[in-house]
């Protein structure tokens, strides 16, 4: 059995490093930032030598940083992009991240990148394919890859197992970590009619390295993972369950559009502290 969090540190409570907060972070003492760590979208800093890079250097000098990618396309049928992996490795040399993560998805084909997280058929064949690619990425980067569960809007007729089983088997076979996005679990549960608690109960707790929190959009017929709203009330008990099962892992509040001022981010992040302290409540099963 793997060590808790794959032996990686518990960083505490963090937020994404985003443009609207750069000025605040540059003019404010790190002692007053109010967060324990930061997550960057790796692609935003590849080849960047301007102001954002300077902000990142300052942040990394005072807080742990995690690199979260969106273009690894671990599920693609095409070859791994070696140039992209080299760029990620080079950025990691500069940033010295606590870990590097990306998503269970594919992002494009024919050399094109949609810059979206496209869905995987959950089959034995794709599982073996993804496990092999994760191992090669880990060998190239010299560290475990932390893989996030995406939000889901469709299921394939060819699916041979539920997503939680797929992720669990993938993590064990590839010896990688998991980034458990509890908002994505809830969104997918609402969109497909499964029990989000059962999903979290089924994930190998010792392989969870980090939890994501975010706010989705209600589109009427489905929920979208938009990262532009506060965390929904229904998600907090799932978060508490994840923290309880894992014994406590790093929490990251994702907010990528309509981003509130810094104090607003801290107020939302404070809810995570409250959720961990509150007694667990049953989560309503959708459907």
């Amino acid at each position: 059995m793997a060590a808790a969090r794959l032996g990686l540190p518990h960083l505490g409570d963090g937020v994404g490093l985003r443009d609207p907060h750069f000025a605040h972070l540059m003019r404010t003492s790190p002692d007053d930032w109010g967060v324990d760590w930061f997550e960057i979208v790796s692609e935003n800093f590849l080849g960047h030598h301007g102001y954002a890079s300077t902000v990142l250097e300052r942040v990394a000098a005072h807080r742990p940083v995690v690199m979260h990618g969106v273009s690894l396309s671990i599920g693609s049928a095409e070859a791994l992009d070696e140039g992209y992996l080299d760029a990620i490795a080079a950025l990691a040399e500069r940033v010295r991240p606590a870990w590097i993560s990306d998503h269970l998805c594919w992002t494009g084909i024919g050399g094109h990148n949609s810059h979206d997280l496209l869905p995987m058929p959950l089959t034995e064949t794709t599982l073996a394919h993804v496990v092999g690619r994760i191992r090669r990425v880990q060998d190239r980067l010299g560290r475990p890859l932390i893989v996030e569960n995406p939000s889901s809007y469709l299921r394939f007729r060819s699916d041979q197992m539920p997503e939680w089983e797929y992720l669990s088997r993938m993590a064990e076979a590839a010896d990688c970590g998991l980034l458990l996005d509890v908002n994505n679990v809830w969104v997918s549960a609402m969109n497909h009619g499964f029990d989000p608690e059962a999903y979290i109960e089924a994930i190998p707790a010792e392989r969870v390295v980090q939890v994501h929190l975010a706010g989705p959009t209600d589109c009427g017929t489905h929920y979208m993972d938009t990262h532009d709203k506060p965390v929904r009330d229904e998600v907090w008990p799932l978060y508490a369950l994840a923290q309880q099962r894992t014994g406590g892992v790093s929490t990251l509040l994702e907010w990528d559009a309509d981003i509130p001022p810094w104090e607003g981010m801290l107020a939302e992040l404070a809810k995570a502290t409250a959720a961990r302290a509150a007694p667990a409540e049953p989560v309503p099963v959708c459907g």
Binding site: L46, H49, G110, N113, S114, P119, F156
Partner: protein
Amino acid sequence: MQRAIFAGGAGDGFADAMVEGDERLDASARMAIYARGYRPRLLECLRAEYPAFRRLAGETACDRFAADYIAAHPPRHPSLYDLGAGFADHLARHAPAEAREPASPLAMPAQLASLERARAEVSRAPSAALPRLAGERLRIPETVRLLRLDFDFSDLIDAVERGAPSAPPAAAETRVAVTRLGWRVRLLTLAEWQMAFLEGLPGAPDAGDALVAAWLPGAARLGLVAAA
């Protein structure tokens, strides 16, 4: 299967054959969530990189041009920064033939887009150390872009940054150096001899050219030259 999903489907029955649907969303609708999702995100990136172009062309026309560009040049790079690299060239290639006439207003969109792209590139480029100048071979640093334009876009750029109203750019032969000093990107208007000197780099300044010699220290402080 991945090609079909990326394209948003592959004809009648494809979605139903591949994807489960239900009473809320049938298979085609579920696949369309992904097909519809990524293009607006790419459009938003172009809107953010070309705000002055958006002001000049209007939101509807800007989005149409951007959508055409994305369809013709789907992104290939991991970073969204690279998405807009060819937008100005795309506008120029698809402009009417009359746009090639001197100071034709039809050339304005492409030229403005090239200026905005230059600002984006300069903002991210690695900075260079100030040159010593005495006898040094000089070059244009990566934080500088030189453009010869048929219009003066400076007031438009400034108005968009301030969120203020703007008038159409004036037709004027304009030589612009987009440069970054510290973290501030600036648009500098150059005289022809200054532009010619910079365009002639890398090289050593002519020791006998007193005009250039007097100008160079200031040019160096503005980040226009670096040691070769």
